[in-house]
Symmetry: C2
Subunit: 223 residues, 2 copies
């Protein structure tokens, strides 16, 4: 999958105490650029919030716009209505990059890149900004696609809630390494290493209702 | 990636009111077998819980054992300590299966399979059951691997917390279809369809500290 290049403008504001990494600090990073790269490589995030004491974790499309994340959904969805109230939320993006096969179950692991973003979302009400934000979401789904599509109608915009979440309080965790067995176990006769995993695009499948003679767009040709 | 076949034993207990799907009910299913298939195809879940009013969503290894999920982690991790207290949690498994390219941004979507499991975890304290549960986790990571590895030591077992969460209160949501444009838009000259996405395993990368002459195991040969 292609990453979209985005600009960064300096350093984030200080993370809150809750985002301190208490375990495995060598995997932790507050690096803003790394957080951006991980988010920009994603199509979906897992969005967590709490209602009546019950946590919910919902997969949603995500996109980054400089120092904010955009989320969107139907204005009538319970999820969007609750997030729009400014409930505290956690938006987590994870890429599973590999299975780490050590010589023991205990040292087996996974390679991954993950960002947790903490905060409260606000509704984007400005009409122009809403159009722009939804375009950012479509562009992150598939760069190049948005420019081919018609403008959204007033009715479509009214049916959609766009939320913005600051990318200020966040925590990055990654692992990208071979297995880390104790020295006295590396000589056992068991294959050890990493099985890399990648989300790969397959052959595009044309919609059954598409008229004949429409070529595959350029941005899908390398797939 | 290979799914592990697991057995199902009948129907789940009734879902709680909170798991009702209020939006897009055509994508909703309470079907236990479908939930099992989605979970069995996964390596990781996103685990949500709330501490001091702040939701957290953390990626973790997951495995299913009949009507339960297993999660594990270090006994000293804050995450495991809190989950072990029986905090309400939500464990969500999602597979992103495709980009759905409609003729408009509004009708664009994604194909996916997702399960949210709600409940409270309990610590597995029985020594034999703990060994078995950790083996289930290693087997779900990569079927065939566990049998090659040495037994875990007492020290390793004592350093690990194993949690069990009932697969009783859950909600399934999936989309698996071409774009669903309004009939009056299907004739516009824009390519429309689905770009399938699959998590693919690449060529295994041997650990730098592996002795020469160790063959790739059978369960990695098709990768």
């Amino acid at each position: 999958m292609t990453s979209t290049a985005k600009r960064n403008t300096g350093q984030p504001t200080g993370p809150i105490a809750d985002t301190r990494l208490r375990r495995l600090p060598e995997r932790g990073s507050k690096d803003f650029d790394l957080a951006c790269a991980i988010i920009d490589d994603a199509r979906i995030a897992h969005v967590g919030f709490t209602l009546g004491g019950q946590p919910y974790v919902v997969p949603m499309a995500v996109a980054r716009d400089d120092r904010h994340l955009f989320l969107h959904g139907s204005v009538v969805s319970r999820l969007m209505k609750n997030l729009a109230k400014g409930l505290p939320c956690c938006v987590t993006v994870t890429h599973l990059d590999g299975l780490v096969l050590a010589r023991s179950a205990f040292h087996s692991s996974m390679n991954y890149r993950s960002v947790m973003v903490f905060g409260s979302a606000t509704v984007v009400t400005d009409a122009g900004e809403k159009v722009r934000g939804l375009n950012v979401l479509t562009d992150q789904l598939l760069p190049g696609r948005r420019a081919e599509l018609r403008e959204s109608t007033r009715k479509e915009l009214n049916a959609t809630t766009l939320l913005r979440l600051p990318l200020e309080q966040f925590s990055v965790k990654t692992r990208d390494a071979p297995p880390d067995d104790p020295a006295n176990e590396t000589q056992v006769p068991i294959w050890a290493g990493v099985v890399p995993l990648t989300l790969k695009a397959g052959k595009p499948e044309a919609a059954p209702d598409m008229p004949a003679g429409i070529a595959l767009p350029r941005y899908l040709k390398s797939r």
